[in-house]
């Protein structure tokens, strides 16, 4: 009995010391201070000036810098958070099991930049509620899921918006026979909306601003909301206009529904990454910019080999990696032909757009603002130097 008591007391003492020594978080705390400093600095300066800071990388860099790229490379594949219910942006073909879409193509572009292989991706379909916790916790490396850029999401969700790949606006769709043309006509109507989205908030804002009474019906998933709309449980359905166009193509009677000519808000959509890893932020951002710049210079997946061999414009040579001394990729932690790989494997912005949202697809959306600044749109990438 004596020995048992001593054994218990001894194990207790060992446990106490183990607990006591489990406080590396004091070290973590000081690292956190560094992280917030660095993030504030880069938020103020434009993206181009982050490149020299990245080359000065080693020890004093913020906690998390470079960790995502290391994790992705060690895993051997990119985990990309997408949606599987929006044709044209992120859609799972139940027959072939393949993901297709505008956002999915940007996932492929990042995989092409990191691995030069667009099959090394694990797609995780996340709904509107799971997407931010999944990104925060590290379950997904990047979230490309037609997510709107807002201040609250940039801060409270501890995530960063990388770049806008699609400039959109919120719209409402109604059955044609209701003959509703402006917001005030929807007085007393029931409007279906998906939970946890900016559409909920924008709808509330606009209806209050126009002093229109309505009843919201908030469903968990876009599929459930569309089902309620088709069953006439609600009179209208609201989401981003791109989402409306893609959803109309899935309705049983697409001709019976019309998109109202009202825009409730600005909806800039783009990829999101976690706070804390500036290198990964730069990688995703310059993947997006590569597609803009490639379209600007007329480089496509078809002619990129020729362009690499023959084009003499300095920026194009840096883009395709023909200029061996401009080690653009190394600055990001990638291979120097990362831009070439993106263009060859996925294409430039125009090709990505046409493949998913072009005139020959079922979800055809006119480019509008989503065109180069030289073509009447707002896509403007910094110089590739």
């Amino acid at each position: 009995m004596n020995k048992k008591v001593i054994a218990v007391l001894l194990s207790l003492a060992i446990f106490a010391t183990a607990c006591g020594s489990g406080t590396p978080q004091t070290v973590e705390v000081t690292r956190v201070v560094e992280v917030t400093k660095v993030v504030v600095a880069t938020a103020a300066a434009p993206a181009a000036t982050v490149a020299p800071a990245a080359t000065a990388a080693p020890a004093p860099a913020a906690a998390g810098f470079g960790e995502t790229l290391k994790k992705v490379k060690a895993r051997g594949k990119l985990v990309c958070g997408v949606t599987d219910q929006v044709p044209g942006f992120g859609f799972l073909d139940k027959g072939t099991g393949a993901y297709t879409g505008f956002d999915v193509d940007f996932c492929k572009a990042i995989a092409a930049a990191v691995f030069n292989d667009t099959t090394k991706i694990e797609y995780r379909a996340v709904n509107a509620e799971q997407r931010f916790p999944a990104l925060q916790s590290g379950e997904i490396d990047v979230l490309i899921r037609n997510t709107t850029w807002t201040l609250t999401r940039d801060t409270d969700n501890t995530a960063n918006f990388v770049a806008t790949t699609f400039y959109d606006g919120q719209g409402i769709m109604v059955p044609t026979k209701l003959k509703v043309s402006k917001l005030a006509d929807l007085k007393g109507a029931t409007i279906c909306v998906q939970k946890g989205t900016t559409t909920e908030l924008n709808l509330a804002d606009q209806m209050a601003a126009n002093k229109v009474d309505y009843k919201p019906l908030v469903m968990d998933t876009a599929d459930a909301a569309i089902a309620a709309y088709e069953a006439n449980r609600c009179d209208a359905f609201t989401t981003d206009k791109s989402g409306l166009i893609s959803r109309i193509s899935t309705l049983k009677a697409p001709a019976d529904t019309v998109i109202m000519d009202v825009t409730l808000s600005k909806e800039p959509l783009g990829p999101m990454v976690r706070h804390g890893d500036d290198q990964w932020y730069d990688i995703v951002q310059w993947t997006v910019f590569t597609t803009f710049i490639a379209e600007e210079f007329g480089v496509t997946s078809a002619n990129v080999d020729d362009v690499k061999a023959k084009d003499t414009r300095p920026e194009v040579k840096r883009l395709t990696g023909a200029d061996a001394n401009a080690k653009m990729g190394a600055k990001l932690g990638l291979e120097n032909d990362f831009a070439f790989n993106i263009i060859k494997k996925v294409g430039n912005y125009a090709e990505i757009y046409d493949r998913n949202l072009g005139p020959k697809t079922k979800t055809s959306i006119p480019r509008g603002l989503n065109n180069l600044y030289t073509n009447g749109g707002v896509l403007y990438a910094p110089p590739f130097r």
């Binding site: 009995m1 004596n2 008591v5 218990v8 207790l12 446990f15 106490a16 607990c19 489990g22 406080t23 590396p24 978080q25 973590e28 705390v29 690292r31 956190v32 992280v35 917030t36 993030v39 906690a63 998390g64 509107a128 509620e129 931010f132 916790p133 925060q136 609250t152 999401r153 409270d156 969700n157 501890t158 929807l186 007085k187 007393g188 109507a189 029931t190 939970k195 946890g196 989205t197 909920e200 908030l201 709808l203 509330a204 209806m207 209050a208 009843k215 919201p216 019906l217 908030v218 469903m219 968990d220 459930a224 089902a227 309620a228 069953a231 006439n232 449980r233 976690r274 706070h275 804390g276």
Partner: protein
């Protein structure tokens, strides 16, 4: 010089006697157990805080006093998009309590009837009850709710072609609309009228609320039926025979002799079923009823504060469950067998 037996001083003897005392060892083992549990809990909390600090996530409940910004479809108290998040949570809590209280009442009634019917000597009645119980125990509740909502309530005619029942009662896929008391402008009964898109005036029971209430009631009613059957069968047959010998009718036997004794056996499992119903009401999220969990999820998504919101949800559901089981335990102690 070897000693044949070790001699100890008087104080060592006392110490050994103390350390070998059973009461001391019991207290010591309880202290050790608490310290171990506390240690594990402390380590887990420190781990979580360190991970959050590493990601730059701050914890705090101050966000609850920010403007909600979203509208809610059904509410029992005043609410608008300019109300605070706290107000939105109150709306959700009241919606949950509304569904749960009616659900408890209906499921108890259904459970009692089904349990008694199951024991009936009438072949058809007991078979129907048996089929009902087996169906309810084997169909997942989520499937049942989606079927009731999408397959039954949403298939009702559209608002403009609503079924008109006598007494200004309308049945459509926007719900059951009935005349109701109203306090403004004057205390009177308001008759619903079709205006534009929906009925205005009167009380509308939305399909989401109806599907959730009916689904929860029949699902839990099936389980309660079995609990009631167990309770009734626990009362010895001698009681029934004595009651019949005294000349009591079947209904009087049930009401005066069987059920009061069966209550002792029924109450504990019944408490569990009530708590199940309360927790199952969170499936409202799947059919669009704005209950507490649904609104908390919206807040959690709009503010990014998942950990704080989960702690709030857990605390609220825990309180509801504790109150329910406290009430039932008090009732249980009142109907307990008091040995003379």
């Amino acid at each position: 010089m070897t000693q044949t037996s070790p001699t100890r001083s008087a104080s060592t003897n006392r110490l050994l006697a103390f350390l070998r005392d059973e009461r001391f060892l019991q207290v010591l083992s309880q202290i050790v157990f608490i310290l171990i549990i506390g240690g594990v809990g402390y380590w887990l909390t420190q781990n979580m805080l360190a991970a959050l600090a590493r990601q730059g996530i701050r914890l705090g409940y101050g966000f609850l006093t920010e403007t909600a910004g979203f509208d809610i479809g059904e509410m029992m108290i005043e609410y608008s998009r300019e109300s605070l998040f706290i107000r939105a949570l109150q709306v959700g809590l009241l919606n949950t309590i509304l569904v749960c209280s009616w659900g408890l009442i209906f499921s108890t009634i259904i459970g009692l009837l089904v349990g008694i019917a199951r024991l009936s000597t009438n072949f058809i009645i007991s078979r129907i009850a048996w089929v009902f119980i087996e169906l309810m125990r084997n169909i997942p509740l989520l499937v049942l709710l989606v079927f009731l909502h999408g397959g039954i309530f949403l298939q009702l005619p559209r608002v403009r072609e609503a079924i008109a029942l006598p007494g200004s009662v309308y049945l459509s896929n926007r719900g059951l609309t009935i005349p109701w008391l109203t306090l403004t402008p004057a205390f009177s009964i308001q008759v619903p009228e079709l205006q534009g898109f929906n009925f205005s005036g009167g009380l509308t029971l939305s399909p989401e609320f109806s599907a959730l209430l009916i689904g929860l009631s029949i699902y839990t009613g099936g389980f309660i039926g079995e609990v009631v059957r167990a309770g009734i069968q626990a009362v010895s047959k001698g009681q029934t025979e004595a009651a019949r010998a005294l000349g009591l009718s079947w209904w009087q036997t049930l009401r005066l002799i069987i059920l009061p004794q069966a209550m002792r056996v029924i109450i504990p499992p019944l408490t569990s079923q009530y708590l199940n119903l309360t927790k199952n009401s969170t499936l409202a999220v799947a059919i669009g009823y704005p209950d507490l969990l649904s609104i908390s999820n919206t807040i959690s998504n709009q503010t990014g504060r998942s950990i704080e919101m989960i702690s709030i949800i857990m605390a609220i559901y825990l309180s509801i469950s504790l109150v329910t089981s406290a009430i039932l335990n008090w009732y249980n102690s009142k109907v307990r067998l008091v040995e003379r």
